[in-house]
Symmetry: none
């Protein structure tokens, strides 16, 4: 066993910092390993032990001793840590190097806004254009019947979508409230129907069951979910995942709203010729009542 113990890798400071601070205690070959890693941090550590050894001009066992010295249980453990750092750094360029400022409520609001804005950007980037396009097309076909549904928290977005699409086009409803009531309507759902389901963790059994039934009866299922994908993805024709992370105990649904509003906007534009007179007629009716 080594005479010097490595510190546990769970230290708060970045691994690179820790290496820089302790590099003088390393043996000559370990220093070579450390310099390689620091000069190409952290990419040099992403490959195999053999590749790292060759690049540093040392032997494979020396690399192993190096990572052990750093406090890792083995090379895979070491790599796992690098992956984690990399992901944290690249995904939240803002949240990273910020040593817990005062948790003022005003600061909370603005950091919330920042985090959600980041979500929106990554949500938009992760969506396949063809997928979004296909969904927009489905929702633009007046002959199809649209049914929106969601779980405990996401039912609100089904409602939100419905309240807009209802104005744009005919044959729009929401499957909401008592799941028992859905059953009755399910009988009418078939090939021409489109079910748009919102479902994020924890995925809800009754929504899943509804979509499976709908799919079995030939309906087209569209799923709007989180990046971990609801089980509904199995039966869904199209899936639109949205990022949901937020500085809170709860997930943020802003990504779901983004996709919903973007779909509404796209369909509005596409159906404008028929939607405009329809909207005007609805306005007149509202004013009369």
């Amino acid at each position: 066993m080594s005479t010097r113990m490595g510190k546990p890798p769970s230290e708060s400071a970045s691994l690179a910092d820790r290496i820089r601070n302790t590099i003088q205690t390393f043996t000559p070959t370990e220093k070579r390993a450390a310099r390689l890693l620091l000069s190409h941090y952290p990419f040099a550590g992403l490959g195999t032990v053999a590749a790292f050894a060759a690049r540093a001009g040392i032997s494979a066992p020396s690399v192993l001793r190096f990572v052990t010295r750093l406090g890792f249980s083995g090379f895979p453990d070491f790599q796992k840590h690098l992956h984690g750092e990399l992901e944290a750094q690249l995904l939240s360029p803002l949240a990273k190097a910020r040593p817990a400022e005062r948790t003022d409520t005003a600061a909370a609001l603005s950091s919330f806004a920042k985090a959600i804005a980041t979500n929106l950007r990554s949500t938009a980037e992760a969506i396949a254009p063809a997928e979004f396009e296909a969904v927009a097309t489905l929702l633009s076909e007046p002959a199809r019947h649209l049914h929106f549904t969601g779980g405990r928290f996401t039912a609100a977005f089904a409602r939100y979508a419905e309240s807009h699409f209802r104005i744009l086009r005919p044959h729009v409803d929401v499957l909401d409230g008592q799941p028992a009531l859905w059953r009755d309507r399910m009988i009418e759902i078939g090939r021409r129907d489109v079910v748009v389901a919102y479902d994020i963790r924890r995925y809800q059994e009754d929504v899943i069951a509804l979509c499976e039934t709908a799919s079995r009866q030939g309906a087209t299922v569209i799923l709007i979910t989180d990046p971990w994908l609801s089980p509904i993805a199995r039966v869904a024709r199209h899936v639109l995942p949205a990022h949901v992370s937020a500085p809170s105990n709860w997930d943020s649904a802003a990504g779901l709203l983004l996709l919903t509003e973007a779909l509404i906007a796209t369909v509005t534009k596409r159906l404008w010729a028929s939607a405009k007179p329809r909207m005007e007629a609805i306005e007149r009716l509202r004013d009369e009542v």
Copy 2:
């Protein structure tokens, strides 16, 4: 052998872009793999085949078929490519500038995301910290009764807020559906009650009437609205305006959602001592049913 060949991985466009453009030609399981990779790009691909497969909910061979379809000779080859992209991207922060989207709809989605992100930022900046603070405090008092309500489009956010606050604390409900049904409940609303109203253009008569009545009976009214302020502002104790502009015929409600979620997060933190056991109890009840 597969009937469709993957393109060589040396294409100039990023791998993510290529996947987004060709995802429609994938098999269902390949789509699952693609969605995982896109939603956690490229980190999901940095581990082992088995880890990727488990995370995507598919089998290891399917992952191998996926990378083969993408044109790589094997999983290590695929990872090598990801490492390369990652290094290039992180080393040149400038190169991160988006490579000009192709299709119209993709552009629509990303410009939508940008516009909404801007909304969020300006919404957060325009909120008076003391106002937000005061609202959070009101919603954190367990003795008060909370009622959420909204108009045609905004009722969804009242529902969304209610579904969360209901879990955090007692005495939470939503005034929804038939306005006639509100009347019956109005009789019980008094000094200890808090009415949170969502209202944006075009401001809705029945919601306005509800808030005026509530105010007259001594309730505290909180208004979440657009920058032009609903008439409810006259009777509201606190007003939180949100920016709503969007590249669409419709307004965007993302600002409303931001305020809602930020309030939920703040109240959750503040009530954590009592909310945690409450949430656990609710979880247990759910599991039993």
